[in-house]
């Protein structure tokens, strides 16, 4: 246009267009390139991750008997957002046979963000859990009437036998700690809390699967996302074959009824634990499902401490059973020979006295047979004093240290770290330092620690260690760390002792004599060629603990056993018969001594022991 005085305004108008588009491009750049939050928000909008729970691995005993399996349970979840105004609460309550008040209370709980931190109207919230099939049957049929309600299948543990609660352990809901430590878990997941369930959690739990679904703006599911590319199928847990012989386990549990105590049986050649019993115990079914926390708290309050696995955690003075180790160590360290004689009384043996009447002096085999206290005190003393005391007690202390190492090589005074038993105590074989602290370096002599010679005093062992000790003697010089997984990989944990085989033969012979002529003779089954050693441990908690270790048959041991009955008195009276019956059961497959079984099983030594 000619002479258009406003010609240049076209640039203003073009400029406005350019600026607008530029501003929008900058905004787009911010939203689509810089701001990272929208990606997650979009996924939260559209994607629902549904967890698929794998079935947990089953647990079998050594003969393939099913011990632990899964039972289906159901969980009702609700998504508040999908529950419209017309929602039929009354009908829903009727389906589940709950009252309106219970319903309202539960809803209030779900919505309370203090109790339920992850609450959202958009995601399914657990309304009721651990329901049986019959509880949800009515609802299942009418599910279409209740939008927002979902029934999810989970599994709970179930048990074939009411036995081996400590060994098997239990499964419970994970806590915040577990979630923080292992990203695999999320709130509401279950994991093994103790026992084998805990040790083999990784193997048993399998792998959760996930299904990524798309949800539209009205909350309706619209099929899988990206044709299921991100989905993962659940991988079922791997079954666990244990070393337990469930019938042996049950027999031992039956025999220990009404008493506080434990019994451990090991196959010496393999270190496989055949039975691991701690009493009082409970029916594993009580720690499952809805009742779990209630029952757990009750068990926790029980004064007899049933939750403690006494077989691996309780520590006792070994008493006379320790004489077998004493004999082996003294033979090896040159303190005695099988022919060495010690008098049973008189000044030489003072101040230790004998509790049994037998001829004197005695050699080693007879000393074991008769459990002669003075003999082992003298042998212990002679080993420790072999080099004299030396300057500053040096020579004596060195000898003690050697003795202690020999003793510990039986697996005492320490945990079996290469085992798969999760709850263990280490027991105690006092160190040189310990006595130095108590008496000063030069303040202690053989006589000071004389109680050790007969397994009293500061020595503490667990029943598991006792059984392992029996297995070591049966093996004549080695043991394989006791374990519960019947898997060859466990057999490599072999520990060889620096004690000559011939010494073991001597001691084994002594232990055989115990069962023929000695303290165990009343409970031996001659055809089974049992070997054993009784113990009666004095302790500060009341009556003596009855202890027995043994194995059979002597020539080719198939089973090694240790039994402890707390505050029961003589080992020969209460522990030996239990062990003897266990050996019979395992070796012959039956237990013929029904009367004995009835007598032992029927005797209540501790009134407060309760079977849960």
């Amino acid at each position: 246009m000619i002479n258009d005085q406003y010609y240049r305004r076209r640039f203003v108008i073009s400029g406005i267009a350019v600026v607008v588009v530029l501003v929008y491009i900058i905004r787009l750049f911010y939203l689509q390139v810089i701001d990272q939050s929208t990606k997650d928000q979009a996924d939260n909008n559209a994607l629902v991750k549904q967890t698929i729970y794998p079935s947990r691995g089953l647990i079998y005993d050594r003969n393939g008997e099913l011990l632990v399996f899964n039972q289906p349970i159901y969980e009702i979840t609700m998504t508040m957002r999908d529950m419209g105004k017309e929602w039929d609460t009354t009908g829903f309550c009727k389906c589940l046979q709950i009252s309106r008040a219970e319903f309202d209370e539960r809803i209030a709980e779900i919505k309370d963000r203090k109790k339920n931190r992850g609450y959202s109207r958009w995601t399914p919230q657990v309304f009721m859990s651990q329901l049986k099939k019959e509880d949800i049957a009515t609802l299942q049929e009418a599910l279409f009437l209740y939008p927002g309600i979902q029934i999810q299948k989970r599994t709970l543990r179930d048990y074939t036998y009411k036995a081996a609660a400590h060994v098997l352990g239990s499964v419970g809901e994970v806590n915040q700690n577990d979630i923080d430590r292992d990203p695999y878990y999320t709130r509401g997941d279950y994991s093994g809390r103790d026992g084998l369930e805990r040790t083999y959690e990784q193997q048993l739990r399998g792998e959760k699967g996930v299904e990524v679904l798309m949800r539209d703006s009205r909350g309706r599911m619209q099929g899988s996302y990206q044709n299921g590319e991100l989905d993962k199928t659940a991988v079922a847990g791997t079954d666990l074959y244990t070393t337990l012989d469930i019938h042996l386990q049950m027999l031992a549990e039956e025999l220990l009824a009404g008493k506080i105590g434990s019994a451990v049986a090991i196959e010496p050649k393999t270190g496989e634990i055949l039975a691991l019993v701690s009493n009082p115990s409970w029916n594993p079914k009580v720690l499952v499902g809805k009742e779990r926390s209630k029952n757990y708290n009750a068990l926790l309050k029980d004064k007899t401490k049933p939750l403690m696995n006494r077989a691996t955690q309780a520590m006792y003075p070994p008493g006379s059973t320790f004489k077998t180790i004493q004999a082996l160590v003294c033979l090896e360290e040159g303190g005695i020979t099988p022919q060495t004689l010690y008098p049973c009384s008189g000044p030489g043996s003072s101040p230790i006295k004998c509790t049994h009447h037998h001829g004197s002096p005695v050699a080693l085999d007879k000393a074991i047979e008769q459990s002669c206290n003075p003999y082992f005190w003298c042998a212990f003393r002679d080993v420790l004093q072999k080099d004299g005391y030396g300057k500053d007690n040096e020579d004596f202390r060195r000898r003690y240290e050697i003795w202690r190492n020999d003793v510990m090589s039986f697996g005492l005074g320490q945990k079996f770290t290469d085992s798969d038993i999760s709850e263990q105590s280490s027991g105690s074989i006092p160190s040189t330092k310990y006595f130095d602290r108590c008496y000063g370096k030069t303040g202690w002599k053989a006589i000071t620690i004389r109680s050790l010679s007969i397994g009293q005093g500061e020595i503490l062992v667990t029943p598991l260690q006792l059984a392992n000790q029996a297995a070591t003697i049966a093996n004549e010089g080695y043991y394989i760390s006791p374990h519960l997984n019947k898997n060859d990989s466990m057999r490599i944990h072999r520990h060889n002792l620096a004690i000559q085989k011939k010494h073991f033969e001597t001691v084994k012979d002594g232990m055989h004599r115990v069962m023929v002529y000695g303290t165990g003779r009343h409970h031996a089954v001659d055809s089974l060629h049992m070997a054993g050693k009784t113990g009666t441990a004095q302790n500060s908690h009341g009556r003596d603990h009855a202890i027995f270790i043994g194995f059979a048959p002597v020539e080719d041991p198939k089973i090694a056993v240790a039994v402890v009955v707390e505050n029961a008195g003589f080992g020969a009276t209460w522990a030996a018969p239990v062990a003897s019956m266990m050996m019979e059961q395992y070796l012959t497959g039956t237990m013929k001594r029904k009367d004995l079984k009835q007598r032992i099983a029927g005797t209540v030594l501790n009134e407060s022991v309760k079977k849960w």
Binding site: R10, I16, Y24, V33, D35, S37, T38, N45, M214, Q222
Partner: protein
């Protein structure tokens, strides 16, 4: 004769614009298919879904475009006023014929389809305005010359806003301000518009925020300081005296300094002080303008006084005049309220959809937010979300760029006209498209309040597509005839 003239038209038609038009329309159609795409989706040509229907509208639009090109260009000029009168009558009648769609009374049902007369009003108003302002004796000399043009756009705007309750469609007529500006309307009118928006936002957003010292609100004080600066600027501009800005600015600063000092002992009402300063400047301004006979300054003084009132009226307008849903949209935009489940839902979901597209987008028909219908109105007003989500930054950038080219091309066309009337019409077309683009995309990107107007060629809908086709192809017809018109 006739054949050769048609040949001429094909030669002279602006094919660049037609190309851009087709590109935008077809890309828009693909995105409508994407936006309405669900899982049991039928073909893009299936008439039971919106993409299929839009295809029908597009065919219709191309046919309509062709017909428009064939009509004699003089027809548009001849019929402009008649069409305008008929259109006003139709707009008046619409609310009585219409049935209520989400509170709007702007749709007339014609059998299976509904039409929105307001979409066609833009084109007819543009023709009428072009005809009036294109007269050979018309020139914008005083404000009186703008009365008729303002009336021409004001009447339909008011009818649409008040009777049809379609605020968005009515606001589109504001685009004509750019046309008037190009034809000689003072640039201050645009600035007044900017100032009005700024004062409105400031007084609404910070009007309730108390000052940290003294009494008064941050919003009012900021508005008054703005007015103070405007006053000083104009007084100094008209006088061209070097010392005056210093003296005026200095005294204002002095006054505020004294107030701050006094405020240590006595609480100073800064609302009143700042208003007093502005009023004092206005009085000085009036005195000066009368003395020097610079009557322009009187207008500035009147404007300033008006602004003082306006600032205080904003709150009233906001609370009482605006509809509650409009108020809440503005509050959400200004970040005064967060309501992601209610009024802020659209905006928030739009932001998520666009943002989650990231740089390259999720791919055509792969947008989860789109497919799962998280953004309401995503095939009409919020169609740009689909572009953002499925085509990413690259695609959105491309679409905006094509739009910019399209609008710049329209301005180019406007500028090459020899006929003033055609030029005015061309600017009206360019401005209307620019306005739609600005409001619609600004809304989707969360920069402007939610105002329901379509994105030209993208949003689903026959009325809007045909309305824009009418607007565009009349221009192309007039442009093709530019050689024949010599005046």
């Amino acid at each position: 004769m006739r054949a050769s003239r048609n040949g001429n038209i094909l030669q002279h038609v602006d094919w660049v614009t037609i190309g851009l038009f087709l590109a935008l329309t077809i890309f828009g159609w693909l995105n409508i298919y994407g936006a309405s795409y669900t899982f049991d989706q039928t073909s893009i040509f299936d008439f039971s879904n919106r993409a299929g229907k839009q295809f029908m509208w597009i065919i219709g639009s191309v046919v309509l475009g062709g017909i428009l090109l064939l009509i004699d260009y003089k027809t548009y000029d001849v019929l402009a006023y008649v069409a305008y009168g008929a259109m006003v009558l139709l707009l008046l009648a619409t609310p009585f014929l219409a049935h209520d769609i989400k509170g709007s009374l702007s749709w007339i049902s014609l059998g299976p389809v509904s039409l929105q007369p307001a979409e066609f009003a833009k084109c007819i108003v543009a023709l009428a305005v072009a005809k009036y302002m294109g007269r050979y004796d018309y020139k914008i000399r005083t404000w009186r010359d703008l009365i008729v043009p303002f009336a021409l756009i004001g009447v339909p705007a008011l009818i649409i806003m008040v009777l049809q309750k379609e605020t968005g469609s009515a606001l589109v007529f504001a685009a004509f301000l750019l046309v008037f500006y190009r034809q000689g309307m003072s640039g201050y009118v645009l600035w007044i518009g900017v100032a009005a928006v700024a004062l409105f936002i400031i007084s609404i957003r910070w009007g309730g925020l108390a000052l940290p010292w003294g009494t008064g609100s941050v919003g009012i004080l900021t508005c008054m300081l703005l007015l103070t600066s405007i006053e000083i600027y104009f007084i100094c501009k008209e006088h061209k005296m070097r010392w005056q800005p210093l003296i005026l600015t200095g005294s204002v600063i002095m006054i505020y300094a004294i107030c701050l000092l006094v405020n240590i002992w006595v609480s100073v009402p800064f609302d009143w002080v700042s208003m007093g300063v502005v009023v004092a400047l206005v009085i000085y301004n009036i005195f000066v303008s009368l003395y020097w006979r610079k009557y322009m300054l009187l207008i500035v003084a009147a404007f300033t006084l008006f602004c003082i009132g306006y600032t205080h009226a904003c709150d009233f307008v906001f609370q009482k005049v605006l509809q509650p849903h409009q108020r809440i949209r503005i509050e959400v935009l200004l970040g005064m309220k967060e309501d992601p489940a209610g009024a802020g839902y659209n905006v928030n979901q739009a932001r998520i959809a666009v943002g989650s597209g990231r740089f390259f987008g999720k791919g055509y028909l792969n947008g989860t937010q789109t497919k799962l219908q998280f953004v309401p109105e995503q095939d009409t007003d919020f169609i740009f979300c689909t572009v953002g989500e499925e085509w990413g930054f690259v695609g959105s950038f491309g679409v905006l760029l094509v739009y910019l080219l399209f609008i710049l091309r329209l301005i180019e066309i406007a500028e090459r006209q020899r006929n003033v009337s055609t030029q005015i019409y061309a600017y009206a077309v360019a401005s209307i498209f620019l306005f739609h683009l600005t409001i619609n995309v600004g809304m989707v990107l969360g920069l402007l309040p939610v105002i329901g107007i379509p994105l030209p060629f993208f949003s689903y809908g026959g009325s809007s597509l045909w309305g824009f086709t009418l607007l565009l192809f009349i221009l192309l017809r007039l442009d093709a005839a530019r050689m024949e018109q010599l005046r």
